[in-house]
């Protein structure tokens, strides 16, 4: 049995130059506060996103016809891992660049593509994911928000919840029930809903740290043109689950706590403390391994294979890793030490937000269920 076939990844020749470019850009325009650099793909900074757009670092793999740069998947991978490792505030465009853009290019009609894709590549249009509802969390196939046909228009009614970035987004790709009376995976479709469409309202949900990152979104008699349907009517489930592969495979699934790890290294330097050295060694080994795994998934995506199973494995291991770092640092470091102030601040922030790491993008239990299916147990 070999569940994760590793092939050596051929990193692009352009990687060193790209890294330099990103590092310079982050040094100049990125975030300095170490706390804000942790879990940085949730921190929206539209100005920074536009800078990335200007530099040609968004929509990197997309056709130039739609504002993309026709670079390789692995070149894009190099850029996103650099951004995350540095804790750059990429939250505004993250979802649009990672999954909504590719989805629009693959399934969107010409009108949708022209309207959104070039703007995403410029770092000007941001997207949110409309999957969860109050009654549909892990059991996503129970969604109840509806789309009803009325002449040339679709009318959307219902509610989404936990929608990250809805308050800064320009559009949502929503999974809704488009066939009245249909059940479970059948009769679902995806729609592109402009957030400024009449009848769409966004209500903040404040998280336990006091931050506003996610929201409730309500749809009341939202009228959309026929062209708002994404892909094929009734195929929404298949489309949305394919999208999850993109959502789960990236380096954001293990790098959320990288800034804390780096602060730990800074703290340990010159101390010759075997406990700290061992912790640094253990975490470094894990980071390196996860990087290999995550890149190997990216290489498979680049070859046009579907690494859905591998992607879930990387997510599961990665989430456990980024979640464990704050706990382990807390256990090993004396925060009474005045020198440890920055470390303490980053650690406490991450302790509070880390429960979300194994929820967002699919919970640990659901992910493990998918792996179990891959093992032939279901």
């Amino acid at each position: 049995m070999q569940t994760f076939v590793t092939e050596p990844v051929d990193w692009p020749d352009t990687a060193p130059a790209l890294r330099e470019q990103v590092r310079a850009l982050v040094a100049e325009h990125g975030e300095r506060d170490p706390v804000r650099r942790a879990n940085s793909w949730t921190k929206a900074a539209p100005q920074f996103s536009r800078k990335l757009g200007e530099a040609g670092l968004l929509g990197m793999t997309w056709p130039t016809e739609y504002g993309g740069h026709e670079r390789s998947q692995l070149e894009r991978y190099v850029v996103i891992e650099e951004l995350l490792a540095a804790g750059a505030p990429v939250g505004a465009h993250w979802i649009a660049d990672r999954q909504s853009g590719p989805l629009l290019l693959r399934l969107g009609n010409e009108e949708l593509k022209r309207r959104w894709v070039p703007a995403i590549a410029r770092g000007e249009a941001y997207a949110c994911i409309g999957l969860s509802e109050p009654g549909s969390g892990s059991d996503l196939a129970s969604v109840r928000t509806t789309a009803r046909r009325d002449g040339d228009e679709w009318i959307i009614e219902g509610q989404k919840v936990w929608t990250t970035g809805a308050h800064v987004s320009h559009f949502m790709i929503a999974l809704v029930r488009s066939e009245a009376g249909s059940e479970r995976q059948a009769g679902l479709s995806q729609f592109v809903i402009p957030m400024d469409a009449p009848g769409v309202s966004v209500k903040p949900i404040i998280d336990l740290t006091g931050a506003h990152e996610f929201n409730e979104v309500f749809f009341e008699d939202v009228r959309l043109p026929a062209s708002a349907l994404l892909g094929t009517e009734g195929e929404g489930w298949k489309q949305a689950t394919a999208e999850l592969s993109l959502e789960r495979s990236g380096p954001e699934r293990y790098l959320s706590s990288m800034v804390l790890f780096l602060e730990l290294v800074r703290h340990a330097q010159g101390k010759d403390d075997p406990v700290l050295a061992q912790l640094v060694g253990r975490l470094a080994a894990e980071a390196w391994t996860l990087r290999l795994m995550s890149a190997s998934v990216a290489a498979k995506l680049a070859r046009g294979e579907d690494p859905a199973l591998e992607a879930t494995m990387v997510k599961d291991l990665g989430n456990s890793y980024e979640q464990a770092i704050p706990q382990l640092v807390q256990a090993a470091v004396d925060f009474g030490d005045a020198e440890a102030e920055v470390l303490r601040a980053v650690c406490f922030y991450l302790l509070q937000v880390s429960p979300s790491f194994s929820l967002r993008g699919g919970t640990r239990e659901i992910i493990k269920g998918i792996i179990a299916r891959g093992l032939g147990l279901r």
Partner: protein, 247 residues
């Protein structure tokens, strides 16, 4: 996988399966020699097989997978590094990591096969979610050990590989903990018998975990090296290990 590597795997796999944990070395060695495996790492110019470290990964991993009784990796490494040298310890740490990766995959395979057959409460054990979730955790660990071993083999082919070897052994050692625990748990009492094959794998896994550097050894070494370089070098060092122009 390249053609020579596929060939190597196709040669070694059935032979290791046949020799297994118990074949005495008087019987096993001549057969291994016939395939040139003890000289795997010796250059062709010196009459060896001329294999590189990715070839070694395949052979060592299969030795672990089949719980090969003869310590072929030690023999092969012994031909290119003298016992007691620092390089010998590193290369053997790599070898053990590769064997652990293979043995974990084999134990996972046994476990999955078993829970799909064994019925309790009127259905196969594998249908119970608790069992599924433990095995999923195990699978992730086995995957990580395999990837880390692959990373070390690639690095050895490039040249300096201290970081990657330390990582591979450390990661493999950690995976042993979950792998052996889950494998025995889901097998119930049958896995605790001499008659059933699981112990050929798990007893070796426990032993390999201690050999050529335990967790404390490698984590301290790796951690000291990373700390000495400093926080600002960590990520650039990491990427420089794989980026083409920096190699």
């Amino acid at each position: 996988m390249s053609d020579t590597r596929r060939m190597l795997a196709e040669m070694a796999d059935p032979l290791f399966a046949e020799l297994g944990p118990d074949a005495p070395s008087e019987r096993a060695l001549p057969q291994l020699e016939e395939l040139g495996l003890p000289l795997l790492l010796v250059p062709e110019a010196k009459g060896g097989f001329g294999g590189d470290w990715l070839d070694a990964l395949i052979v060592f991993r299969l030795a672990g997978y089949h719980a090969l009784g003869v310590d072929l990796p030690a023999i092969a490494v012994g031909k290119v590094a003298g016992a007691g040298e620092e390089q010998h310890q590193s290369l053997m740490a790599f070898a053990r990591a590769a064997q652990i990766a293979g043995a974990l995959d084999a134990a996972l395979g046994l476990a999955v096969g078993y829970v799909n057959e064994r019925e309790q409460f009127g259905r196969p054990l594998g249908k119970f979610q608790a069992v599924q979730q433990s095995l999923a955790t195990f699978a992730c660990e086995a995957a990580a050990a395999n990837c880390a071993a692959m990373g070390a083999a690639q690095a050895l082919n490039r040249g300096a590989a201290q970081f990657e070897i330390a990582t591979a052994k450390l990661r493999a050692n950690r995976a042993v903990e979950i792998g052996t625990t889950v494998a025995h748990q889901v097998h119930g009492a049958i896995g605790f018998t001499q008659e059933y094959a699981l112990h050929h794998l798990t007893r070796r896994l426990w032993q390999w975990r201690s050999e050529y550097g335990n967790d404390a050894h490698w984590s301290r070494r790796l951690g000291s090296a990373v700390t000495a370089r400093g926080a600002d070098r960590f990520w650039p060092d990491l990427t420089a290990r794989t980026d083409p122009a920096c190699r």
